[in-house]
Amino acid sequence: MKETDTDNSLVREISAEKYRYGFTTDVHTDVIDRGLTEDTVRLISERKGEPDWMLEFRLKAFRHWLTMEMPTWPHLTIPEIDYQNISYYADPTVKKQGPKSVDEIDPQVMKTFDKLGIPLEERLALSGGVAVDAVMDSVSVKTTFKQTLAEKGIIFCSMGEAVRNHPDLIRRYLGSVVNYRDNFFAALNSAVFSDGSFVYIPKGVRCPMELSTYFRINASGTGQFERTLIVADDDSYVSYLEGCTAPMRDENQLHAAIVEIVVLDRAEVKYSTVQNWYPGDENGKGGVYNFVTKRGLLKGVDSKLSWTQVETGSAITWKYPSCVLQGDGSQGEFYSVALTNNWQQADTGTKMIHLGRNTKSTIISKGISAGHSQNSYRGLVRVAEKADGARNYSQCDSLLLGDECGAHTFPYMDIKNETAVVEHEATTSKISEDQLFYCNQRGIPMEQAIGLIVNGYAKEVLSKLPMEFAVEAQRLLAVSLENTTG
């Protein structure tokens, strides 16, 4: 069938994919004026009723941000962002009159999360139990199972609440993994962050249920700047899930988050993300700009942190969930599937910083590019002078659908210790027309065939996700590639 090799009639032009989360909620939302000055920062802090030390934290970050410039090194074409034309705080929980009450959630907001498949009533929770912190725009609207968790000493609440109720923990750990000076978006987030989740697992406690935060952008003209902090004390375990969606809007919306994780002696944290922000339409109009700093500090001996991400959304993704392997014998893992279609751009990967002895890291990255999209893996493996016996294994695969997309790999290595064993493998492949036709001939229609092949390709990563998330991720991969064929 050589004649057909040059004929790409099957794997060709992209058209609209279906985005089933693109609806908006009509709810009274208190949105502050657009623009970003020191007064904005003060206003946010005031709205949240924060103590002085928190305001100071923000102001320091803001003043530093003013001296910084957006990074230009990613393999991304980022249109100019007017930071003065964004509103930095939107609260859908504020009633027109009077103070807000957590128990009185606007029914429209409840309905929104229902529609997204995120039950906020504990009796409706998925079997096995998943506790949810639901964040809409700048505010956490509800956190479920708080009581059940509190019985074990686990703290799971919104960041706003944590600042008020657990100031000692927050002052100790907030910014301890990602300093506001770290990068442009980290500084911005540290200045204006609104809500997010705080998790503390006490010594020796195995969290009995999955914890999850669901982020939803609703209001237009706003950005979302949430902040998540997870502290796993000695000998504890937690599995944490993060999901995100946004309405379909013609404008681009900014999302700049920070996730910090501290893992102490022999503790283990699994962090899974299914990122499905609105990716823009088939002509590249609209979509979320996702500039996120995620990092874990494996502070304790024999501590473990595993990042698993399935990235299908956002117009632009800039994100490198990383591990600082400080404790001797600590282990970091990064499993990633990043899918780009239409005009999406992704520059994503990880950093594994080996500081302690006998530390181990694994990187499995699977990029999938379709349409006119550009998909880059960027990863750093650093082994410090004193990190005897460090090991890293990296595998970066790229899958191309069609001829107009791009896949790029930027692996960096910085090895300062001779005993380190570092392995890197990379492959690039295409879904061939012959593979698709083979499926068709066996009775499998085109879209199912693409779904089958792509899920097969991503299997190694999907198998790391908790069950319900894996099913959702599989579906998402298939849906995101609908209509990629003629």
Partner: protein, 256 residues
């Protein structure tokens, strides 16, 4: 059923090059047809056009399959209607296990027929039964489709899939190429055991070798996009002995 496949004046091209120039062929249920011919005569094009490969353009003629307009159907529906191609070069699909692949294929067919998905226990039983037919070890079911399979295993896997999908008409495109004699026997044996008065087979081959095992009722010679001779099984033996030149010469004489 009579007249399972009715090909009338079929013309097709690849990349604007006319390959099939008017094929006429009738296949009835219960029959085994062999299609032979020199390289480049259009044998593989014919099978690809019948199963709806998008790289081929039909430029004229008609094909009726079990009373339906075959050319109007997408490839997957042709499969659901009972048309199967054993590929000359089966492709590898990394990460997709044979079990998952077959389950998807079977359940798509059942969906087409308005049936619910097959119960897992029934499915596993079916797999076991059909595997034995071509002596394919259980371990292949957990491996990715054709990945790391030897040439012979790939061809046995094609016949295994044929057995699973129970087609009415199977086209074997040079299934004998790259097979040693033992593998050839296993494959041919599998095909023979699947034969019934309700099914038909088209065997595309260069050599008599396979036809020693899968006995054809009718043999056709394809040359330059046309069937230039049709006769009984003895024709294949004659071709093996004398080559194609004499058939071509006789055909060219008759055209003058």
């Amino acid at each position: 059923m009579n007249n399972m496949l009715e090909i009338r004046d079929l013309q097709a091209s690849v990349a604007d090059k006319q390959i099939l120039k008017g094929i006429n062929l009738t296949v009835n249920a219960g029959e085994v047809h062999a299609i032979m011919g020199p390289n480049g005569s259009g044998k593989s094009t014919m099978s690809n056009v019948l199963v709806g490969h998008p790289g081929y353009t039909v430029t004229g003629g008609s094909v009726t399959f079990k009373g339906k307009d075959l050319l109007a159907m997408p490839a997957e529906d042709r499969s659901h209607e009972g048309l199967f191609l054993s590929f000359q070069y089966p492709v590898e699909i990394p990460g997709v296990s044979m079990t998952n692949f077959m389950r998807t294929a079977i359940n798509e067919k059942r969906k087409y027929q308005g049936l619910p998905p097959m119960a897992p226990t029934d499915f596993l039983k079916l797999i076991k039964e059909k595997r034995d037919l071509v002596k394919l070890d259980a371990k292949f079911m957990n491996r990715s489709v054709n990945e790391g399979f030897s040439g012979g295993e790939k061809k046995r896997n094609e016949i295994f899939q044929m057995a699973m999908l129970e087609p009415s008409l199977s086209i074997l495109d040079e299934t004998d190429s790259g097979l040693d004699i033992d593998a050839l026997r296993i494959v041919a044996d599998g095909v023979n055991r699947l034969k019934s008065p309700e099914t038909a087979v088209i065997v595309i081959t260069h050599y008599q070798r396979l036809l020693d095992y899968i006995k054809p009722d009718i043999v056709h010679v394809l040359y330059q996009g046309r069937i230039i001779r049709t006769a009984g099984p003895q024709l294949a033996l004659e071709l093996e002995e004398r080559g194609y030149d004499w058939v071509i010469k006789e055909f060219e004489e008759s055209q003058k």
